[in-house]
Point group: C2
Chain length 258, copies 2
């Protein structure tokens, strides 16, 4: 039997494109072979929807799904948010953990996206933090939903590699109590990243706080952090974009912590 | 007199949204107060179009334009590619220089975007290279037009700060003859960025080659470069996105060259 866009299980899955429904169900959608592979490896796939062609092409993925359902091309299109999901969309259990559980593992590098509403930016920071070896990425305050489709895609699988936490904005105290120095990024920060690296200050376990490109970090986080750090600007640019700034900071820590 | 979307000068300016017309005219469009301010400072503005409200709000910008024309709201909308250009669009002379002229200035840091077709990625690398103190950014081979509206916006003014070059793909020999070591980025590179930094190899004048996220660098550039360099991956991510990888490499050089 081939499902269509009107088959009740497809209709139910499609609702997960909306945050409210994701929050209620505690589930989300992952699309495309890379994300589906990582979701399967994490054991969070509830049901895999695949077109006939995708069933053939990705037989090993379908074989590992607890439930694999064939959908028509239009049925798959109704589930997918991208033009080319390559025939695969999986319903997954949400993977986030509590702040307490994430910090109990004593991560040496943590990234906090504070009130970042752009899903592409948040997903890119998640991917970069994973690459730099961070143990946890914390979505703090009124941040984008990490299960937003665009965020999931920008994370390129990293959503399944690190501890993802959703929590309130007042994260500095618990981070510090977990033995992490808390470094807030700011274009006007008193400390220069290169100087901190020279002084050996980045070798300590560190949580980096990143704010939105438009508004920066909320005052309360800037004030509560141990240091306000600026990435040095050597040329005429006013600033770096968020993805670039996060990459420079997280890799400076990764390098110092080797 | 208030121009509308049908006023011939507005119609002519609007054509600059297309690459072919930009190439023919040797001009492009910059929108929004930040880009217009930088274009004016560079002396490349031919004509500024502004709404009545923008004329009032940005009077000092309008005063510095050689020609400033009032357009209706719908006239401005017809010129703008973004939803909120804040009432300003400028026709500018193209700013790129020849490879020979850019290299004659003996830049110590250069970024090459080779066959990168995504305008947002190319513009972000341009911005990051400027922030890291690069003297030139080279669009090589079948790369996006640096004057593509999305690239101009992603560059956040950096298009006007560094020498932008458009040239053929065979850039390695001229770069090397200009005294630059040529480092090609590759996920499979034999050299690790952190090891190069440890060994002091990044203090020398350097040109970084970046390829597209989907296809990487063309073989001929990988083979011709002095080294193939990988950004170390400390976690579970397969790779970094282009903006993040470029930021880590360019800032590693900037730090070593201080």
């Amino acid at each position: 039997m081939t499902f269509t866009s009107r088959t009740p299980r497809v209709v139910a899955a499609r609702k997960l494109q909306r945050r409210r429904d994701r929050d209620q169900a505690g589930r989300f959608l992952a699309e495309g072979p890379q994300a589906v592979r990582e979701a399967l490896a994490s054991g969070v796939v509830v049901e895999l929807f695949a077109t006939a062609a995708a069933f053939e092409r990705y037989a090993e993925l379908a074989a590992h799904a607890p439930v694999a359902s064939e959908v028509s091309d239009e049925g798959l299109e109704s589930l997918a948010e991208t033009v080319q999901p390559q025939g695969l969309v999986a319903v997954c259990e949400q993977v986030d953990v509590s702040l307490r559980d994430a910090l109990a593992k004593q991560p040496r590098l943590v990234a906090v996206v504070a009130e970042i509403r752009d899903p592409g930016n948040a997903g890119t920071v998640l991917r970069t933090a994973d690459a730099a070896g961070a143990g946890a990425v914390i979505f703090a305050g009124d941040a984008v939903d990490p299960y937003n489709g665009k965020c999931v895609r920008a994370s390129a699988g990293s959503l399944f590699h690190v501890d993802v936490v959703r929590t309130a904005i007042d994260v500095v105290t618990p981070l510090r109590e977990a033995g992490l120095q808390v470094l807030a990024t700011s274009g006007y920060g008193a400390d220069d990243l290169d100087t901190l690296a020279d002084d050996g200050a980045l070798a300590a376990p560190t949580a980096w706080l990143f704010g939105s490109e438009a508004h920066g970090l909320p005052e309360e986080l800037l004030d509560a952090a141990d240091r306000q750090v600026r990435v040095p600007i050597y040329g005429g640019a006013e600033s770096l974009n968020l993805a670039a700034a996060a990459a420079v900071c997280l890799y400076a820590s990764a390098r110092a912590q080797r």
